[in-house]
Every structure is written in C-alpha cells, then in structure tokens.
Amino acid sequence: MAAALKTSAIILRVADFLKGFPPFSYLPDEALLELARSGRVQFSEKGEILFDQGTAHGRYFYVINKGSVRLVRGEKQKLSDLRGPGDFVGAGAVLGEESHTDSALVDEDSILYALDVSVFTRLCTESPRVGRFLKVYFASEEVDTGTAQRSGPSGWRGGTEKHLARLQAGLVAGAASLTVREAAEAMRAADNPVFLVVEAGENPAGVLTDTDLRNEIATGRVPTEAAVNDIMRRPVITVSPQTTPQNALLAMIRHGIRHLCVTEDGTPQSRALGMISERSISLSQRRDPLALVQEIRRADSPSSLRTMGGELDLLLAGDLPSPDDVPWCTHLAAETRRAMFRRVESWAREKAGPAPGSFALALTGQAGRGELLTATNMAAAGLTSEDEKTRTWTQDFLGRIDEGLAAAGFPAAPAAIPEEAGARCRTVGEWCEFFRSLVRDPMGGEIWQQMAMFDLSVVAGDPALLETVFTALRDEMAARPNFIRLLANDALGNLPPVTIYEGYAVEADGLARETIDLQDHALGPVSDVARVFHLDGGDLGTTGTLERLAAAAVRFPQGADIFAQGARAFRVAQYFRAGQGLRDGDDGHELRPAALSRTEQVQLKSAFRDIGALIAFTANHYGFKG
C-alpha cells in the first residue's frame, strides 16, 4: 500500500492486511488507513465470548487476523457460521441492526482487529460496492462480484436496453383485401421485407414476408392479383414495447419465426406499433442464438447436434456474468435444448413411422422444469392412448429417441429416472393409476424416488393426454390433504452446509467436506420446496422453480420475503453450477469451495443461509419442528 511517510508502519500493517479481503479491498487506501487507525488489536483465547446474541452493538466490530470465531444462535447454540482470517463479526450495526443476531465465541486463540463501527459505517455509505457486499454478508442481497461489468453495451445482452423501441423497423401495413402485387409494391418502396396486414383499428391480422412472395408468387402457385388474405400467415405473434430483446428472441425461437409485431399492449387485440426482425435483434446482440436454433432444426446427424450443444455451452458460458443472468440464460438453454430434443425426435419419427394412436412425450425432473443450463438427461416419459399397439409404438419411439440423445451428447438417465424406455411409457389410464396410488400410499410407492415425475412437461405429441393425468392427480390430492404435508416433510431432508470455512463446506454438526453437491444440497432442496407450495396451490402445469417460488410468494404472502430469498439462492447456486459445468463439460453439480474466490465464497454462503431459511419456513408452515 502506498502511503505518505507520516503514516505509521503499524497502521500500514493493519491496513495492508485488511486490503487483502473484501469488502475492505474495495475501499481506497486513505479510507483503509482511517479505519485501521480507529481500532484496537486484541488477543482472545479459545472459549471467550466476544458478544452475546440479543445484546446491543458496541463501539467496535471485529476482523479476524488469526484464528477463528464461531457464530451460534439460540438456546442450543446452533452453529450459524464459522469465520476465519479476513472475515468479520459483529458488524450488523453497519446495516442498522440494533442488537447482535448471534453470539460470537472464539473458536481458537485469535488475534482480532476491533475496528470502529461508526467509521466503517461512514466509509460504507461512501462506497456503494462495500454496502452491497455487506448486504450479501448478512444474506439480504446478491453480491457484486465485479464481473457484471463484462455485460456492457457491447455484450450479448444489449446493455441496459429495456425495451424494443430502438429496434423497431418502420411499419408497412395495409388491409387483407389488397392484392399481393400491391403489398409487394409497398414493401419494395419502403425497402422492408415484411408487410403487416391490419384490420379495423390497426390491429395486426396477418403477416406477409419476402419468403412468402418467393415461395408462393415466384413459384407461380398463387397469382400476383390474389388477395393478401390468401397467403398471409396468421396468427401474428405479438409482443409489447416493454418486452426485452432477450424475450423477443425467445418468442422467435419458440414460434420458429423471424419477425414479431409490437403492439400497444402486447396482444393482437391492440394497435400495431412496428415490426421487430431477428436481424435487428441479432445486430444489437452480436451473437445469434436464433441462428444456432435454426442450425439445430436443420442438423443432419446426432453428432452435428453434439457440436451445436458445445456451441450452446460456449454461448451460455459467455452470457452468464452474474446470477442475475440465470433466468434468461435458463430460458434460452431450455428452448435450445428442447429444439435439440425435437430434432432427435423427428429422426426417430422417420424411422418409427406414423403413430397408430394418440401419444405425448413429456420431459421430467430438471428437464421438465426447463432447468437445462448445463446438458442434463432429457429422458422423456411416454403417455399413450389405451391401445397396446400405440403403447408398443411409443415405447419403441422413446427407445430410438434415447439412442439419438445419447449420440447427441446428452448424459445418461440419473437413478431417479428409469433407464428403460418401457418403464417410462404408460397409457393414460396407467399413469392416472400410478399417480393415484402414489398419493394414496406415498411410502409404499417410494415417492422420494418419483419426485421427478411431478415435473412433467409435454415436449411432443398431444398435451391433452397429460391434462387427463393431471386431472386425476389433482382429484386424488384434493381427497388426501395430508399428502402435501408428507411431500413437505420429504423436502426437508437435504440441508445445505452452514458455511464455507477455509475452503471447506461445514455442516451443522461441524463436519467439513471438500466438495459440495450443489444439486443435492442447494438446488434440489429449493426445487423440492417450490414443488410442495406449487402442488399445495393446486397447480400441476409445470413451470420452473423460480416461477413456482414467485407464484408461492403471491399465494402465501406471509412467506414472500423468504420465497424471494430462496429464488435468489437458487439463481446463485445455478450460476455456480452452470459456471463449473459449462467450463468442465459436465453438469457441474460437484463444487470445490476452495476453488472459489473469497467473494464467491461469501456469495455461496449467503445462498446457503437463504436456503436454510426457506427450509425452516417450510417446516414451520407445515407444522414440523425446525
């Protein structure tokens, strides 16, 4: 640290130590020297109490120079954190807390820097980044890892652009009764590849594009004097002016189109304002996921899909600078991997021939929830009409899809999902009975093995088949209200680590592990709790964990803050899992905390605390002792 000669070497020594750790590292040198000058150095022996839970904050908070301090809570002195060199304790007053939320016990002989709270509070107000870090330290906000700057205006997300206004092209529009030639003339005059057909009130009714003119007029299939009404495409897919470019892109991917109509309220029942093209969005975003999806749709072999999966991973790895980006990247990954699934399905269908009866394929578990940031098993469940012929056909069809997915690089089915296609294929009646018996006798049905089946989402075939199954499941659950409570109990089984200390994940009983299974101890518990509240609300239509938590916050407002914290923790855990998985080419579930930076460790610790709070709320809500 550079400083004027007048500064004592002792103060410099303390300030130098602080500078090695966030959030002190975010402070300018002069501020650090002032903070160091405000303090005391004390030696505390193992077993000493620094402060008691519930007592008022004192003049000082403590930065650990050497040794460790254990934070405990409640009569049973339950471990809430273990902190070591560079960590600090007793700084809640900086965020306005009046008393200590934990007791602090010295865990081993320690040298502590006791620093003045009022000085630190003032310095925090002068440095927003320190303030944000502290909010994470106290588990109330996401941390600024300093990487978010990567997504500036030149980044893929298009900077801070919040709506589509800047991307809208001029509107070339007219009535459906115009001739195709008149519409083409208007398009040529405006040098615009899209003609929007509008009806009374200027609401969008259809779209005519360059491609339609080439396919229908230039080939002679339709005369130029035909009415636009004869060849226009409908319905028009619309978005609102507030839609983000990312969501506009997702809509294009979802509908397989290259143009969207912007209307006043985002529905086709309001006035058209402009058209958005894939090209304008792509230009604004540098990279082109839509082009990737189109390549996937044209892929000629599973091995080429494997390459495209790698491209998707690269694209996601570049577009995930912070947990804030998780929701959008999750949607992008889900749409793209589902497109890969559908490409594999189309090859399988060519070989399997036409289905003899009605069927549906539904993704399960993580894939069903659309949580596919990293390549995850996509083994689908098959639902068929009641005839054996269709059931046999679907079973064969699923087997072919499994082979194609494996060749395209998707991982094998986890233990919770049956490997054999036959075990995943049932008639609608059999599925109804499967769920009814599961609800009637959850233990006998080994429900803990079947949770993935509550996250079914149709990816191909007739969605009505799954609706029939859901109706049966809904009725059975309504008749057996205790079922939800049992599901809740099951969701409380896997607790997150209490803290990360010196690169180890520390559990409540003090056991330290070198690795954390993010799926089992972070993402899984949040998903399980979100599913319980989702089913409790009578919802069966599958949505992702984040959407379920948002819905739960509305339905159970007393837990709104806890659900928001749980969602935040889920985004953080997804971020770390995806970051690791996309880098290492696996699903990233196993994380070594020692490999994380100190700021990242704080971020993850904060997420564990939030998950712990969500589980405690769930236990309390369903009448279990925490």
Partner: protein, 199 residues
C-alpha cells in the same frame, strides 16, 4: 505503578547508530500504546530522525537517505516522544537499552525519562520459572522466538515500528499469562538506572 489499576503501557523500540547509549544516536522510534490488554492503533508514535543519515547503521535498518532527509531533528523527535509517552509504563524487549538511549537524548534536551519500564524478556523468564510455558516448544526468549511461540507475523522486523508492533502483540499475551500465573507485573518493573542488557 498501582498493581490494581490497568495503566497505559507504551510499547516502543528504537533503531540506533550503535550499542553505546552514551555515544550513539537514535535513527527511528516506533511505539504503540496498550490499554486494557488491547493495542490501541489510535495511540501510536513513529519518528525518523534526520541527524544520523550518513552512518552505516542506516543500511542495517534499511532507512533510505531520502527517508532520513525528510525526518526530524533529534530534539524535535525526542521531545515529541517524551510528550507522547507521558506517565505511561514503558515496555520493550530488552527495554533497558532503548530506555537508556532515549534518556540520554532527553538529558541533552534538559529533560528526563523517569518512567518505569517492563521488559518482555523478563516477563517471559518469570513465566518460564512458574512453568507457564509447559507443554509448549520454546527455542529461546528473543523477539523472534517469542514471536514464533505466539504465532506473531515477523512483518517489518528490524524497523522500530515493526519491532514495537511485534513486541506489543507478544506483550498482550504475556500480560494475560502473567495474570493467570499470579505474577504482578509491578514486581518486574525496571528504572532507567539499571544496567542495560547486552543487545
């Protein structure tokens, strides 16, 4: 020294041009106060003297000519140090030498240094006599070995402030051990008339 009250201690160290307090001079003084068993970072002292810039000791202690050139005269620095010390109990490792060389400088200014002093070496030896270090591996009672014993980082060793900070961190441990061992530090006090230990 009232053995009941907790006094203000000033832990200090001087870097000097030689080992003879009557002839040699002070290059730097570093000091920090200890109260209630805590090192008070808002109560510290640091001075570089400009009078001795050309001596070979300057090289030993790593003080650059540029630093010394910006320093204070002996009169300025010692006067300020005496004011800073006030009626504190002085503490140092082999404190007798530092106490004497400051006292000599004080006398040149017509002042004196009547303060009692505690030697961390002497406290450590008293604790050793009582068996307070039993079970701990001690290789010696010099500053480096006591620092290693208490896991004190040897940062800025052989600078006055660095050594004063290291000594202060050792002192707060020894003070606590002495209390537990029933040793009254008042019984270990030294005056400035006692012969200095060899450095």
């Amino acid at each position: 020294m009232d053995s009941k009250a907790d006094p203000r201690y000033v832990v200090f160290d001087c870097e000097t041009t030689g080992l003879d307090p009557s002839k040699d001079g002070i290059l730097t003084i570093g000091a920090v106060a200890v109260r209630d068993g805590e090192i008070c970072l808002d109560d510290e002292f640091d001075a570089i003297l400009s009078d001795w810039r050309m001596t070979s000791a300057v090289l030993v202690h790593g003080i650059t000519q540029a630093e010394a050139a910006t320093g204070e005269t002996e009169a300025q620095a010692v006067n300020k140090f005496l004011d800073y010390v006030g009626d504190a109990v002085l503490v140092g490792h082999h404190v007798g030498f530092d106490q004497k060389i400051v006292a000599h400088a004080a006398r040149r200014l017509g002042r004196d240094l009547p303060n009692p002093a505690l030697d961390t070496m002497r406290i450590a030896l008293a604790l050793e006599e009582r068996g307070a270090f039993e079970g701990r591996e001690i290789r010696g009672f010099d500053l480096d070995n006591l620092g290693a014993l208490f896991d004190v980082e040897p940062h800025d060793r052989h600078t006055a402030s660095g050594d004063a900070f290291i000594t202060a961190q050792i002192f707060i441990r020894l003070e606590r051990m002495a209390r537990k061992a029933g040793i009254d530090l008042a019984t270990l006090l030294e005056g400035d008339e006692e012969p200095a230990d060899a450095r």
